[in-house]
Symmetry: C2
Subunit: 222 residues, 2 copies
């Protein structure tokens, strides 16, 4: 390997890389004149850490008490349902299991697939309905499908027996994505965390769940 | 639901959302005065589609012939190895299987975990070594761990028996990420696609693999 290039690598132990990364993020936020609310900073910092995109310092919005609602739900053993297997894959399932929760996903559920096919709607939307029918307090983490957020809004408007403990509304994209998030931000009785605008993703959805998990477990990692 | 907000949703069938999204991306690139090379456009467009981040129009760089190398490898049945289960999860495994390839990941391989623990290095780095030891032509898709790229560079410099068919180097982050990508961009005899700078991610790695898959299968989806 060329000594010149190799010489530019910082010597940081695997376990220290995250700490060092967060120091850099804090410093750059300071340089940009952005000071985060300490209550919501863990979520915003982790979204930036996952994307290297400082837009998340501005576009992540929280309903009053959303952080606390998410953390308390996780502490009480709530499970998390995602709209993609990719978001499910990114969640720290060990930390979630320690609190008694699971990462659920119904996108490949045969009933969900059949119903989506018959109705000509997305599997993500039907998967939300399936999750709601469990009648358990859940955190809904949506990183991909705006239709999942529209479905959640419709279910809530019709009166869900067990409303979401928290909605993480961070689908990414160009068609109906921004609008679907606005539908969630209109909710007054369900806590939400939303990435306003087009940006988001399965990685961001998982990062937000993990940030809440680390607050809920006092940042004790295995 | 408030009729006002619902009225803002565009009526697009699930199967047409991607087409409409790509039209919007093309139009916005035009407005920004960016015209893409048709050869590499499928990868760049899909990275933007996955992140809603137009930076990928500028930061995605390709070694000469990298697109063709990736597409030909996939057509010949090459498998793809990722550094995270999240990237593995995002790959269209059905399209990959139709061409004869698999999405591999060794991050939870007991031997890999043991060796990483003993040597105090990342599992991602050891996982690359394990993949290289298979002696099969592979596409290495790295969306998270700069150490995986450093490891690949070292293996190549030592003379891999079966060099990578393509390296997709798109880890995200703040510590050694930019430098690890420069190490890959110095390679002259191994094709690479790199997201220069800090940005990237498991979602971007999967999106690039999928873009290559769709070119390789003439965009026929099931």
């Amino acid at each position: 390997m060329s000594a010149t290039t190799l010489g530019t690598l910082e010597h940081v132990k695997p376990g220290d890389i995250e700490t060092r990364s967060f120091e850099i993020i804090v410093e750059e936020l300071r340089q940009r004149g952005i000071s985060l609310d300490p209550a919501t900073a863990p979520v915003i910092m982790r979204a930036i850490h996952t994307t290297a995109d400082f837009d998340y310092a501005e576009n992540l919005l929280f309903s009053p008490g959303a952080m606390q609602a998410g953390v308390e739900a996780l502490k009480a053993g709530a499970s998390v349902v995602t709209d993609t297997t990719m978001a499910q894959s990114g969640i720290n399932k060990r930390a979630l299991a320690r609190l008694g929760g699971e990462a659920l996903n119904f996108i490949r559920d045969p009933e969900v697939m059949q119903e989506a096919h018959e109705k000509g709607i997305t599997r993500s939307a039907v998967a939300m309905e399936k999750a709601a029918s469990l009648g358990r307090p859940l955190i809904y983490a949506v990183g991909n499908a705006p239709t999942a957020l529209v479905q959640l809004r419709e279910l809530i408007d019709k009166g869900m027996a067990t409303p979401p403990a928290l909605i993480i509304g961070v689908p990414v994209g160009f068609v109906n994505v921004t609008e679907s998030k606005e539908l969630i931000m209109e909710l007054e009785n369900v806590p939400w965390i939303v990435a306003r605008g087009r940006k988001g993703g399965s990685n961001v959805a998982a990062a937000i769940v993990n940030a809440l998990l680390y607050v809920a477990t006092d940042n004790v990692r295995e």
